[in-house]
């Protein structure tokens, strides 16, 4: 009898709190988005699963000695997992399109307006009762506009770890929603003729350029923004391994096994921050709203910047590729390509959009560095 009672007291049914149930449903929602809707499944699947596990009563996944607490403290709080992922992303990134058409860097720069406008918006939200964002919180939220997962996780961990769950959910959800968020904005801000603009084929880029480029980026970051060097440095290391041609073993491992292993644990660890007390509040709603605004402003800024550049340059740029400047690699570039094809069935913008796309990755890493330098101290 006693034993039956003890067993009953150790069931989940006898110990559930409402918040846990809701968070587990949210975890299930993330799984649904990942599996049925193909929303950034590589991260949202382990993240949703982590959200479920961390909210199981009694099991203590995120308490001292729990499996997820080891992952969170060992890999995420230390920044190791996002940096390793960023190295892998660097090893997957081909800067060829960017080097062939460097002015697309300005598109990637313009799209970061999404970040800084959101920062302002987050502070403005303090007017709403129940929301109190410090400048650190606001900066961590703003980076959602960077549309780059590891950057957002890295910065949130440093500036506002208690918001990490909500920020990661917002960042990856909106990255997955890019094909829905961006096209209307892109169409609204461009004329049919602009969308029809065909771009000249990109010049071939030499191996030496591709090898020196990551080193140049790193050097400039060291000179002007050392706080961005963890992110930019690991990204450039990955890219250098990819391009140098002498460590293909390492490059391949960084792009495959290492990033896969780290992704599983990063997702679980981030999911473990989806606890009721940290997620179920008005602030999360504010973060979700701000995230949508950030993506929209970033998209618009990129498109408008391209139109502005066309005013001053002889070689025209199709303004659609400006939208790819928010990063969300390679989804945003594909969206630009797709919207371009609608206007002109012979207009293949994919390669051209890869320039602002990868520029956006650098841009948001730089923006993260600025926020760390000015707010993180």
């Amino acid at each position: 009898m006693d034993s039956m009672n003890k067993l009953w007291l150790s069931t989940g049914l006898a110990n559930f709190e409402l918040g846990q149930v809701i968070m587990m449903l949210i975890g299930c929602g993330l799984l649904y988005l990942a599996i049925a809707r193909n929303f950034e499944p590589l991260l949202l699947l382990p993240m949703g699963f982590g959200a479920i596990l961390t909210n199981i009563p009694i099991a203590g996944f995120s308490e001292a000695g729990g499996f997820l607490s080891y992952i969170y403290h060992g890999g995420i709080e230390t920044g190791i997992f996002p940096l390793v992922i960023f190295m892998g992303v660097g090893a997957m990134t081909d800067f060829g399109a960017l080097i062939a058409n460097p002015k697309t860097l300005f598109l990637g720069a313009a799209a970061q307006a999404g970040i800084f406008a959101t920062l302002f918006g987050a502070i403005a939200l303090n007017a709403v009762p129940g929301i109190e964002f410090t400048l650190k919180d606001a900066s961590a939220i703003a980076i959602i506009g960077g549309a780059d997962g590891p950057t957002a996780i890295f910065l949130a961990t440093k500036l506002a770890p208690e918001l990490l769950g909500a920020i990661a959910v917002a960042a990856y959800s909106y990255m997955a929603l890019v094909p829905i968020i961006q096209p209307p904005i892109m169409r609204a801000l461009t004329t049919e003729d602009e969308r029809k603009i065909e771009m000249a084929q990109l010049r071939p880029v030499t191996k030496v350029e591709k090898v020196v480029f990551p080193l140049g980026v790193l050097l400039m970051t060291i000179f002007f923004l050392p706080t961005a060097t963890p992110l930019v440095g690991m990204f450039c290391l990955g890219n250098l391994m990819r391009e140098c041609g002498v460590v293909d073993r390492l490059s391949s491992t960084a792009q495959n096994e290492l990033i896969n292993i780290t992704t599983i644990f990063l997702g679980l660890g981030v999911g473990s921050k989806l606890s009721a007390e940290e997620f179920l509040n008005v602030e999360t709603l504010g973060i979700l709203g701000l995230g949508a605004i950030a993506f929209s402003i970033g998209t618009a800024s990129g498109v408008l910047m391209a139109k502005l550049m066309n005013k001053f340059s002889k070689v025209p740029v199709n303004p659609l590729i400006g939208a790819a400047g928010v990063s969300a690699v390679p989804m945003a570039a594909r969206v630009a390509n797709k919207v371009g094809l609608e206007a002109n069935p012979h207009n293949f913008l994919l390669m051209h959009a890869m320039g602002p796309n990868v520029a956006g990755v650098l841009g948001s890493a730089v923006a993260a560095g600025i926020l760390l330098a000015l707010v993180g101290g």
């Binding site: 920062l119 007017a127 400048l135 030496v208 350029e209 002007f224 520029a359």
Partner: protein
């Protein structure tokens, strides 16, 4: 709302400083590409033979020294199917073995 003022001011400054910095930084990168990388590209052009075809031909020459031209698509189809089958078998084996 009064007490938000200083935070607002800070956020505004941050916004402007940030955007200026991002543009300057990526702008410098444009210059870097247009000057240094461009010079390097001229000075160290890629070898004429593209890498891909080199690899393929070297693989071939190691094996049989025959030309690949004139192979019927039928054979290529056979090969592709065989490779696919091989791969599938291989991955299946991998899965079942624990």
């Amino acid at each position: 709302m009064e007490h938000l003022h200083p935070l607002f001011l800070e956020a505004g400054t941050l916004m402007i400083t940030g955007m200026v910095f991002v543009f300057s930084f990526l702008g410098l990168l444009v210059i870097f590409i247009n000057t240094i990388l461009a010079k390097l590209a001229l000075k160290f052009p890629d070898a004429v033979v593209p890498k891909k075809s080199k690899t393929r031909s070297s693989v071939l020459s190691n094996k049989s020294n025959t030309s690949v031209k004139g192979i019927s698509p039928n054979i290529v189809a056979a090969v592709t199917s065989a490779v696919t089958q091989y791969r599938q078998q291989h991955s299946t084996t991998n899965r079942t073995k624990k």
